[in-house]
């Protein structure tokens, strides 16, 4: 019940009692209440004319880094006797120092600024408005308002700098890059020998091959290196990422996707990102630093989700990916995912799967006993079989134990093989 209603009811009750009992003292009892009500209403705040601005010390930070949020409120209306400013923080952010709620008096034209420090996990956070509660000193009437003070904070996933990633899609783009294009031309690595043509550099002549023929010269041809189209598919399905006790592999997958996107974009490739969770979040392919920002923002907002439609990978929209391009799926993988990946392979895509190992991850926090050991052996065998099956289907599967830093893993498993090793067929 509001304060004014309670007092009004008491006042009317006393007046009524005075009338019924014909005793003026009841009216006298009501007078302090009436005075209180009247003074309260006379001092009631007028229309609230507050404006607020918000300044963040940084708009993109790494997880759990401190951000100073400064809010300045200016009163453009009449003086306000009691103002409660409450800046609700987006869910997930934690207040580290300072205060987001203040009680004060604001005179006409006066400004008040307050700063607090917040931090939080990966995510995109939107600050909308301040909750303002204005009342007179005795708070008979209270006005509640929302004052817009927008701000956006992106807590981006950590990007580990990794070495260039060796991929070999069937089709590349026309621009020069670092991906072997399966075509002869100018490049650095040996591709083959062809007949010498006018215009070829004399240094390209393969004298050893030419010596075998009397009338012809042969020249070395190098493999063209171009940029490629790469689609990174981040599996955000709840059933593949979340385990008992709210343990999740998703953060590792996000970190891997961010590092891969960064490395591939640094190589000059055209990279797109598809987050496959409750719905499809598609970041159109692009090049360069702006695309890196787009992808990091998309990854900041990526969440696991459950949907009947997207419970299997079969709804990956292949139309989004250029034909015969490279698809990198970051997923802990399920048995049911194999047919879809096989289908992608059959369509001509070069498929690489980076799979954070769920078995080792779960074992890292489960108690060590016989039952767990037995179960882990069974599941590990199933997973090994699945990965072997994928390998036989031409899908490049990288089984990542998340205990190992992603950059070490990539250096070990995904770095470009030196030419002298490739020459001996490794």
């Amino acid at each position: 019940m509001s304060r004014s209603l309670l007092l009004s009811l008491l006042t009317y009750a006393l007046l009524l009692a005075g009338m019924l009992t014909v005793q003026g003292e009841f009216i006298a009892l009501a007078l302090p209440l009436v005075t209180y009500l009247l003074i309260g209403y006379l001092q009631a705040p007028e229309t609230i004319k507050l404006a607020a601005t918000r300044h963040l010390s940084a708009e993109r930070v790494s997880p759990n880094a401190n951000v100073d949020v400064t809010v300045t409120v200016t009163n453009h209306g009449a003086s306000l006797e009691e103002v409660l400013l409450d800046d609700p923080m987006p869910e997930g952010l934690v207040l580290n120092s300072g205060f987001s709620r203040h009680l004060l008096a604001l005179k006409k034209g006066e400004s008040y600024a307050f700063t607090y420090t917040a931090s939080g996990p990966r995510g995109g956070y939107v600050f909308e408005s301040l909750d303002v509660r204005v009342s007179d000193h005795i708070a008979v009437s209270t006005s509640i308002a929302r004052v817009e003070a927008k701000g956006r904070l992106f807590i981006l996933p950590p990007v580990t700098r990794i070495r260039p990633v060796a991929i070999r899609p069937r089709r590349t783009r026309v621009y020069a890059g670092s991906i072997p294009a399966r075509a002869g031309g100018t490049g650095t690595e040996f591709f083959g020998v062809r007949e010498y043509q006018p215009g070829d550099a004399p240094s390209s002549i393969n004298w050893r091959a030419s010596a075998r023929y009397l009338d012809k010269l042969y020249a070395n041809e190098f493999q063209q290196e171009r940029v490629a189209d790469v689609a990174i598919v981040l599996d955000g399905r709840l059933r593949t990422n979340e385990f008992a006790g709210r343990h999740s592999l998703f953060e590792y997958s996000v970190q891997a996707a961010a590092s891969l996107a960064d490395a591939l974009l640094t190589q000059g490739n055209r990279v797109g990102l598809l987050v496959y969770a409750t719905y499809l979040a598609w970041t159109l392919p692009g090049y360069g630093k702006i695309q890196r920002e787009r992808i990091l923002h998309a990854l900041a907002n990526a969440k696991t989700g459950e949907s009947q439609v997207f419970s299997d990978l079969e709804h990956i929209p292949t139309r989004l990916f250029p034909a015969e391009s490279q698809i990198i799926l970051v997923s802990p993988l399920l048995e049911d995912d194999f047919p879809t990946l096989l289908h992608l392979r059959a369509q001509g895509y070069e498929v690489m799967v980076i799979s954070p190992n769920p078995v080792k991850f779960e074992l890292s926090y489960l108690p060590t006993n016989e039952l767990v050991q037995l179960a882990s052996r069974v599941i590990r065998m199933e997973r090994t079989l699945l990965l072997q099956k994928m390998g036989r289907a031409g899908i490049h599967v990288l089984d990542w134990d998340v205990a190992e830093p992603f950059d070490h893993f990539v250096r070990r498993r995904l770095g470009r093989t030196p030419f002298w090793l490739r020459a001996v067929g490794r």
């Binding site: 009892l29 009631a44 203040h102 008096a105 005795i138």
Partner: protein
Amino acid sequence: MTIIAFVLSILLGTISLAIGYSQAGAFTYSLWFLLLAAIWLVAHFRKWYWFSSIALLLIVFGAAYGVWREFSTVWMLLGALGGLLGWDLSDFARRLSYASPMDDTRSLERLHLERVGIVAALGFGLAILSVVIRVERLAFEVAVGLVLLAALGLTRLVIGLRKY
């Protein structure tokens, strides 16, 4: 500052009623009022702010009952006034609890106590005046008419002020 004023208000309200009732020989009721003061204080320090509305109702009801039984009007008035102040200060303390430690709550407290003091003095003064000044030749029908007119006027005033 507010807490001291709050405790004093509660003591003023309940002790006034207790004195008024005990002067009239109703000692049992006096003890109940002292118990109410204790419960109210405990409720406030346990942050059960909702209790202050119940306490105000009980105190005003107690004062009205005392008036009906023709106990000393001044003690009843002081009781109701103390209850009103206690209720107001309890809510103010609740609002102050939202302030951050860096806020200038002392000046807010000072202004609030000034305003409430003025309200209390004005209300009590008017009430005492209304008790002291008696118009003997006023017929009951006229008195009823005046009360109704006052209620109507009050309602119109409140509605008007709300619109404003």
